[in-house]
């Protein structure tokens, strides 16, 4: 279960009054009572822990900065609470995660992730995001064109720090450390499983393939649009002679469950509207920050028309009705049976082993979120568990001690 930790109470006129939900939203105007945000953080933790108790195999937080749709600038702060609170459960702590190029020096990621793996008794999944243009370039100040090289260097340093038996000097371009020997090291050997989140860039797929990591597609587009990208991923994997282990692939999907389809609309429509109207309110051209995409992706995206199409989808979000969100599977919402059927189809069609479900949407209040989580875990989740069983794959990208049947 993936949680964004959004501001749940942005004003009604937010997207007409302010140019962006990200980077520039004015804290003092949008948070009249600062302590309310503390309540949001605690509810978020409660919802994730509840999900763990109710049956999710993993709980997941991410990193964003100066972003009212999600603001856990250090996801590992949340991760440590979640690790401690779930030490009695067979649940993975999925950090999606410390943004590599902007956590400096990168040794901090190695150290913090190792702490989490230790705190949790070896339950960490180490997500290694590249970082968005807004977070990495506009907030954290790194030039976009350097971002992928910085990412690669950070990754190499982190993995070497985890695995090297000797203290070593690291003479990188952005990390120059004379004596690398982190305390602690992770419990998991050779290191925690690594997931690489992305949207659809083949350079991300290539990186995941090169290192035999699991790739997860993180977007708000849902499974219908996701199918095109995941088809591309599996074609790419075949061309690279990778096996078709579905656990090579993760996918983020928004899911809302109520007793009936009609009830779902009644309960969730306004929160979906809140999310897609306010939470994705970002100037279009910020997504394509110059230098963020490498030249090949930039030119291919424009020449093929894909970039424009993606932008159109994002622009249209503000106009969609509940019906459109649901019919297009941008949000899979409805009765347990409806949600079950759609998710089983999505998992099979996109060939997803690691399904990442977002159940808190935008302004959704705490009790409603828990209701949706409860229904999902009792009525839907059991039907998703065995989808790949007959193919006999092992989830190599999962903490070793959690790969068997869940006992706790």
């Amino acid at each position: 279960m993936f949680h964004l930790m959004p501001h749940r109470e942005l004003p009604d006129d937010f997207s007409t009054k302010y140019p962006s939900v990200w980077v520039t939203p004015p804290w003092h105007e949008l948070v009249p009572d600062p302590a309310r945000i503390g309540q949001f953080y605690n509810w978020t933790l409660d919802e994730l822990i509840y999900g763990a108790e109710m049956g999710f195999d993993g709980i997941c937080v991410n990193e964003h900065h100066q972003n009212a749709y999600g603001f856990m600038p250090n996801p590992n702060v949340m991760g440590s609470v979640l690790a401690r609170a779930t030490n009695h459960l067979d649940v993975a702590i999925v950090q999606m995660g410390a943004t590599l190029p902007t956590t400096q020096p990168a040794i901090r990621v190695a150290e913090e992730y190792a702490m989490l793996d230790q705190l949790s008794g070896g339950r960490l999944v180490a997500g290694m995001p590249l970082g968005t243009p807004m977070d990495a370039n506009m907030v954290m100040g790194i030039p976009a064109i350097e971002q992928r090289d910085r990412y690669a260097e950070a990754h190499d340093l982190i993995v070497k720090a985890w695995t090297s038996k000797e203290t070593f000097a690291f003479n990188g371009k952005w990390n120059q450390l004379p004596y690398v020997n982190p305390w602690p090291r992770p419990i998991q050997q050779p290191h925690p499983p690594v997931w690489i989140p992305g949207l659809g860039s083949s350079s991300t797929w290539r990186f995941a393939a090169q290192h035999d990591y699991s790739y997860c597609m993180l977007s708000f587009f849902g499974s219908q649009v996701g199918k095109r990208i995941m088809d591309g991923f599996w074609e790419f994997s075949e061309a690279e002679n990778l096996d078709r282990n579905p656990y090579r692939a993760g996918f983020a999907q928004m899911v809302c469950v109520a007793e009936t389809d009609a009830e779902a609309e009644k309960l969730f429509a306004k929160h979906m509207k809140y999310f897609f109207d306010k939470c994705l309110h970002v100037p279009d051209h910020w997504w394509g920050s110059p230098g963020y995409q490498d030249y090949e992706s930039l030119s291919r995206g424009i020449r093929s028309g894909t970039t424009m199409k993606m932008l159109e989808i994002i622009q249209n979000f503000k106009n969609f009705t509940y019906r459109e969100f649901v019919d297009k599977d941008i949000v899979i919402a409805g009765s347990p049976a409806t949600v079950r059927d759609k998710l089983v189809d999505a998992v099979k069609n996109l060939r997803i082993g690691n399904l990442m479900v977002l159940q808190h949407i935008g302004s959704m209040p705490h009790e409603l979120t828990k209701d949706s989580i409860g229904l999902f875990c009792t009525e839907v989740l059991p039907k998703l568990r065995d989808i790949w069983d007959d193919e006999g794959w092992e989830n190599k990208w999962w903490p070793q001690r959690l790969r068997g049947q869940r006992l706790a």
Binding site: G141, I142, A144, I145, E146, P283, G288, S289, L298
Partner: protein
């Protein structure tokens, strides 16, 4: 005058390649372009009437060679690379005039500070490179085209702005133009992002070349207040502030700037 040659140059011990547009007649002049990329526009045509103009593409912005910037990591590397470009062009015997616009102005100032004897005269058009907290600044990489026009031109819907920012109508050509502009902005940002203060303040005292700073009084990209700072910090420097101009005075005030620059260079 138009350019009449596209010269390939290879510098940095063979690791950096770029192209230089060469045109005109007269004493040599190095032109350093701004972040959107090199255009042989009417201003360069005017310079070429009285100088041999050498206009290098920032490495990485030559169509077809997008990763050429990679060996150059910081402003020091970039400045020395341009010093080598002058050598590669055979311009070692005499000092040369350097004209730089915006990002190119910062680069020109760094070049003149690094190797003062190499630069005879320096013309800086709305140069970036100095910073005072609180002064208005607009980041070109996060603006829409409309916002960019509004900040860079005193008359954003007028003919000069329209011509400078014109995009092709044909969808395929439009796509290629968007790719080129986006990539050029991304490459240039390597040396000025996140704040266009990369240390020039520490080195500017080294400039010995007679310098002319030209600014548009309505510059919405980088505050015209910096003009006085350049004027004060560069030992032999005159400042011209132009009305009815913003960030591209050489085109917005084509009626006076080419003549002003020519008179300054000839003096």
């Amino acid at each position: 005058m138009p350019y009449n040659e596209i010269r390939d140059v290879e510098v940095w011990d063979g690791d950096v390649r770029t192209q230089v547009l060469v045109g005109g007649e007269g004493p040599p002049l190095l032109y350093l372009h701004a972040v959107m990329g090199l255009q042989w526009d009417p201003f360069l045509e005017s310079l070429a009437a009285h100088h041999t103009v050498y206009a290098p593409y920032l490495p990485g912005t030559v169509p077809g060679d997008p990763d050429a910037h990679k060996p150059l990591e910081d402003v020091w590397d970039l400045t020395l690379c341009y010093d080598e470009i002058l050598d590669a062009l055979g311009l070692g015997a005499e000092p040369v005039a350097v004209v730089g616009h915006s990002f190119g102005g910062m680069l020109g100032a760094e070049l003149a500070a690094t190797n003062p004897a190499r630069v005879s005269k320096l013309v800086l058009l709305c140069p970036i490179g100095l910073w005072t907290d609180g002064r208005p600044w607009k980041n070109p990489n996060v603006l829409s085209m409309a916002e960019l026009a509004g900040a860079a031109f005193a008359d954003p819907t007028g003919p000069v702005a329209q011509a400078a920012l014109a995009l092709p109508e044909d969808p395929e050509a439009l796509g290629e133009a968007i790719i080129a502009i986006t990539w050029n902005l991304g490459v240039a940002a390597k040396w000025w992002w996140p704040i266009p203060d990369r240390g020039l303040r520490k080195r500017i005292h080294r400039i010995t070349a007679d310098t002319l700073v030209v600014w548009g009084a309505r510059d919405g990209i980088i505050s015209p207040e910096y003009a006085a700072d350049f004027g004060r910090l560069i030992r032999n420097c005159q400042v011209e502030m132009l009305d009815d101009a913003a960030h591209v005075p050489q085109l917005e005030r084509y009626d006076v700037v080419p003549g002003m620059v020519r008179a300054f260079l000839d003096d």
